[in-house]
Amino acid sequence: MSRASSPTAIEPRWPRGIRPIRLGGLSVRMQLRAWMVSAVVVIMALGVGAYSLTVGTAGYPIGDVLAALGGHADAVTTRVVVEWRLPRVVFALLGGAALAIGGAVFQSITRNPLGSPDIIGFSSGAYTGALLVALFWTGSAVGTSAGALAGGVLTGLAVYLLAYRRGVSGMRIIVVGIGISMLLGAFNTWILTTMRLEQAISAASWGAGSLTDIAWPHVLPLAIGLVIGLPLTLLLSADMTMLEMGDDIGRGLGVRAEPLRMALLLLGIVLVALVTASAGPIAFVALAAPQLAVRVMRTSGVQIVPSAAMGALLLTASDLIARTVIAPAQLPVGVVTLCLGGGYLVWLLASFGRKGRT
């Protein structure tokens, strides 16, 4: 039996912008467009971030900012730029990326662009956790973070278990998640009404998602999480892509469906939780970034690195708007992402309907 290439087999053509690259044991099919656009988006995000350092109540020209970063500026400039603005910008860059990776993972698992952590109850759960901690224990930042982490992770677990029936299906996760999200939303409103006024105001502003109070201690755990989480997600992303075509096809191609889903879900939840714990539930970045990346970079299906780049740009730009649009007052960044994302969601649902997809 001969199964070698028949002599008549001619080289098929590839779509433009895909190149095979081989270096020793390493070989990939390079998606040129996706990588190039990702690089441009990262540069744009860094640019917006750099510009953010120069604006605020006290505007500093770029020269002063560079001097402050280099350690040559006066004490006030250094404090404002390096201690106050820089951690916020870095958090926006990393946090946007983390939210987007979480969103991409969730959307891939549920095979649905609506399958993002904010839709399926994670954000409401984190908020519930933070509220309960504030109500019964302490209103401190650490307490809020811990409560949010616990609340988010527990909600994620609850959704997974409730949706589990000999494996989980994407639609069940979304439907169960929306149900739990509404339940928790009602519960959260009820808790807010029972709180003292100043307590309720601070809880509500956290609940909107804000980067106002971000400082270096908030950045560190997020950075560590990304350094570990991003490579792990990338390592699993090939299997993840196979599973998008259906459980049967995926398993036929040698993917262990259920363990993979568990691992990815856990990674997604931890990445989103690290942002939420410090900044509160920031709406829609996880939902919109992966889908925007798909459309701009014309990849088939969500991809990790393009999503991360888009998320970083989205959150950094949103935070810049939040800081400047009603200056000197500041909006919570969650309000800006909610406005941007809400419009996007309407458009997404409308185009869904037109295609007649379910």
Binding site: V28, G254, R256
Partner: protein, 275 residues
């Protein structure tokens, strides 16, 4: 090409399987002859898909075992098994906007590692799979825009790129019009002649009898008959399995058995009346 074993020797020993509590196949033993084009037929709900899915390890058996290369499939690693058995399931979703060649390339997944994503062997296997399914000229087309029959060829090409000695197809002709059904079955025959072992679940008894080299007839989770179509397809068997009275005649094209349902006492519209 590595990993191709010429005698897969796929068989099931006293296999029981089902979904949850409900047992669909019960202590079933069959062998898939090496190099055969085996077709499984039977009424709806007789367990033919369950059998195929158990053979592919998509269902964990509640009893008995499936053996390939002399080993229980349960012992295989996920990718290891995927290098031996290619699978065309009933339902699969093509990612939005994916090109034909991109989708076919995904069949190489079981041969790839985290850093070896596109070897020379991958490239050759994909070119070969496209060629065999006559998709080379359509390689850059978007899968969503193809016809149902072309799309089915793309999925088969993906399974071919997997380069497995065994190919399992779960109702590959369902939802296709007659031209595309024949297209897919002819393709299966070509692959069979090239030396692959194929196992397919089909609905059409006449197509099964025409294309299969080995036929497995199932009813209520049991195998009622097994063998070459010309030896086992009789009016009695069809009546027993499907509860339909038929006449079995020779297919004028291939001399394989052809079943014609009987028409007792029903006033069928007559041709002459259509004026």
């Amino acid at each position: 090409m590595t990993g191709i074993v010429d005698s897969p020797g796929l068989h099931a020993r006293e296999l029981s399987a089902g979904y949850g509590e409900r047992c669909i196949i019960d202590e079933l033993s069959i062998g898939i002859p090496d190099g055969s084009f085996t077709v499984i037929i039977g009424p709806n709900g007789c367990g033919k898909s369950t059998l195929l899915r158990s053979l592919a390890r998509l269902i964990r058996p509640s009893g008995g075992q499936v053996v390939i290369d002399g080993r229980d499939v349960a012992e295989f690693g996920a990718k290891e098994l995927a290098r031996r058995i290619g699978l065309l399931p009933q339902t699969s979703t093509a990612p939005e906007g994916i090109s034909v060649i991109d989708l076919v390339s995904r069949g190489r997944h079981p041969h790839q590692g985290p850093f070896r994503r596109w070897s020379a062997a991958d490239e050759r296997a994909v070119a070969d799979a496209l060629h065999r399914t006559r998709l080379t000229d359509m390689s850059t087309r978007i899968v969503d825009e193809l016809s149902g029959g072309q799309r089915q060829r793309v999925w088969i090409a993906m399974a071919l790129a997997q380069e497995t000695p065994l190919l399992l197809l779960d109702e590959p002709t369902t939802y296709l019009d007659i031209a595309h059904q024949i297209d897919v079955l002819d393709l299966c025959t070509r692959l069979h002649r090239e030396g692959r072992t194929l196992v397919a679940v089909l609905h059409d008894i006449n197509q099964a009898a025409r294309y299969a080299s080995h036929l497995i007839v199932m009813k209520q989770g049991r195998v009622l008959a097994e063998g070459a179509p010309s030896e086992i397809v009789t009016a009695e068997l069809i009546d027993e399995v499907f509860g339909v009275g038929v006449r079995v005649i020779d297919d004028p094209e291939t001399a394989t058995p052809l079943i014609v349902p009987r028409a007792p006492g029903i006033d069928y519209p007559k041709k002459e009346e259509n004026t």
